[in-house]
């Protein structure tokens, strides 16, 4: 049995949607989600050997997404995945207007302001078990235009690996090639019918709108988990 703790934001909805099917195909897998919208998970701290929310609203989101747990007890898991933080791009990003060095510096600054580092650091302070991290999915093209991005995905992953993960003995996981059009965009098929976090507890709640470009669906989650799982079973 491999017990994986997934600490994420709304993007973890795709993995959650796919988790039942994935676990059926991988009986050794036990996935536990601690997901909260946007940056709500910034209100966490290490308390009594656990990584715990600092307010009831966040704890309630974790109860909903984990199936009743309010805090992460490292003893209960074999590995940890920090999912969906970092990798932000903005419509105004114009890569052709900046040098490669500046684009990398800007990307790193954005990564360092996100929650990958704080979450990995907190978890590493609690456990020596394997830690993984993945950026939020690349957005899908909108109105036929592919999103702008300061750095290609693989360079951004490498930057996060070098500056954030390596010092903590953690490992970045790239977005599966099968889900990407290229280094900047996810294939639009994977945003169709994407899950909202609220659907974790209320499956009948409406999915994202048809033009959703940032959150991915269950098929994306399945491909992602399939690509990731070998990391937990080396060899």
């Amino acid at each position: 049995m491999i017990r994986l703790c997934i600490l994420g934001n709304s993007h973890a909805g795709a993995l959650k949607q796919a988790s039942a099917e994935f676990c059926a195909a991988h009986p050794e897998a036990v996935l536990t989600f601690f997901a909260a919208v946007a940056f709500d998970s910034r209100a966490m701290a290490v308390q009594d050997g656990q990584y715990a929310p600092l307010n009831d609203a966040l704890a309630a989101q974790y109860e909903m997404t984990s199936g009743g747990l309010r805090a992460i007890d490292p003893a209960q898991y074999d590995a940890f995945l920090v999912y969906g933080f970092g990798g932000r791009s903005l419509p105004q990003d114009r890569p052709r207007a900046y040098s490669q060095a500046f684009r990398a510096a800007c990307t790193l600054a954005r990564l360092q302001e996100d929650l990958i580092g704080p979450h990995l650091q907190a978890l590493r302070g609690l456990t020596d078990k394997p830690l993984f991290a993945a950026l939020k999915p690349l957005p899908c093209p909108q109105d036929g235009r592919r999103p702008r991005r300061l750095l290609p995905h693989h360079e951004e992953v490498a930057l996060a690996q070098r500056h954030i993960c390596d010092p903590l003995g953690a490992q970045m996981v790239a977005q599966p090639a099968a889900t990407r059009i290229d280094e900047r965009a996810t294939h639009p098929d994977f945003a169709s019918g994407s899950a909202r976090l609220v659907q974790v507890a209320h499956p009948d709640a409406p999915a994202h709108a048809d033009d959703e470009a940032k959150h991915m669906n269950a098929e994306y989650g399945r491909l992602w988990l399939d690509a990731f799982w070998p990391h937990l079973r080396p060899g």
């Binding site: 932000r88 903005l90 105004q92 990003d93 114009r94 052709r96 207007a97 900046y98 040098s99 490669q100 060095a101 500046f102 510096a105 800007c106 600054a109 954005r110 302001e113 300061l150």
Partner: protein
Amino acid sequence: MQARLVIAPPARLSCGQLLTAKAALVPDDPPHPYSDLPASAYWRSGVAAQLPGPLTGLWEPAFPIAPGDGVATFGSCFAQHFGRALRARGYRWVNFEPPPRKVPPALSLQYGYRQFSARTGNIYTPTLFLQWLRWAFDQAQMPPEGWPDGARLRDPFRPRLEPDGFTDSAEMHHMRRVTLRALRNAVRKARVLVFTLGLTERWVDADTGLEYPLCPGTAGGRFDPARHAFAPLNYPQALAAMADAMALMRTENPDLRFLLTVSPVPLAATASGAHVLCATSGSKAILRAVAGALAETRPDTDYFPSYEIISSPVHGGRFFGPDMRQVTQEGVDLVMDSFFGTMATRFPDNAPAPPAPSKPLARDVGCEEELYAAFGPRA
């Protein structure tokens, strides 16, 4: 005429004081040019009587700047304060080469963003400004020169802008074209262009005449005495270059107006052979004369006396830091308060909304010429 004074003044009075004294003592004398001037025209009332407080009435704006008017800023490091102050006080500072959003301001500054309306870096001399403009408007070809720096390349015309230089020649030239496009936009779309004249000392390629913002070898490149020449500007050269630059800009934007200032920041170092204090005086005198001459002769041009506000002996150097070179935040604030206060008083209908609460620190600007000081002996 002095023999007609009713009461002989003390011998130490100056000529102007003699005339003032005479005007006061002989009220029935026929009027003359010094008998009916405003208080600001007399040192005693315009300066001495206002001390130690800040001097008022130093500037009469030649034209209004409305909050919606696009204002571009270029020049020496002191010009960076203008851009920031314009932004902070609700004016429309135009920036045609901005950094990406959601990037720490310190990082943007480190890479030369948000300093000027295009990422030219500091432009200290009128000739360097003219060189940039000629490239921007296809009157001269952008040179291929790059300075190797390990495996990377520095742009000789803004060697400190990218902390680690560029990947290769293609990237360096591409990024220069990005800046030239931004410079074109700034000239064509601004309503007012603020230019702060900083230096007259400059280094050029003796073969091509190309001017470098910093002496080769100090911030990249390798100094070659056979090729790199010290070519300080004299008054006619500086005046002609500035006039040519303004004429070129007006060709592109006939409505453009100019606000000239002279940086009060002394030279960090001089290659002239003179003492740096004397070289500073000479350089600032030339630049001040150029700015004054252009403002007096061109209706599209104004001069704002930031140089006088900071540097005048009446303030006893109190707006300079301990090294008597760096302008303090108090000094910067005084200059900006004077500028915007006068503008609001003179053109009340154009006053923008109240300023934002935070003000930038005087040291938080990029000043490449300071690099020269690093080559001098330690105190």
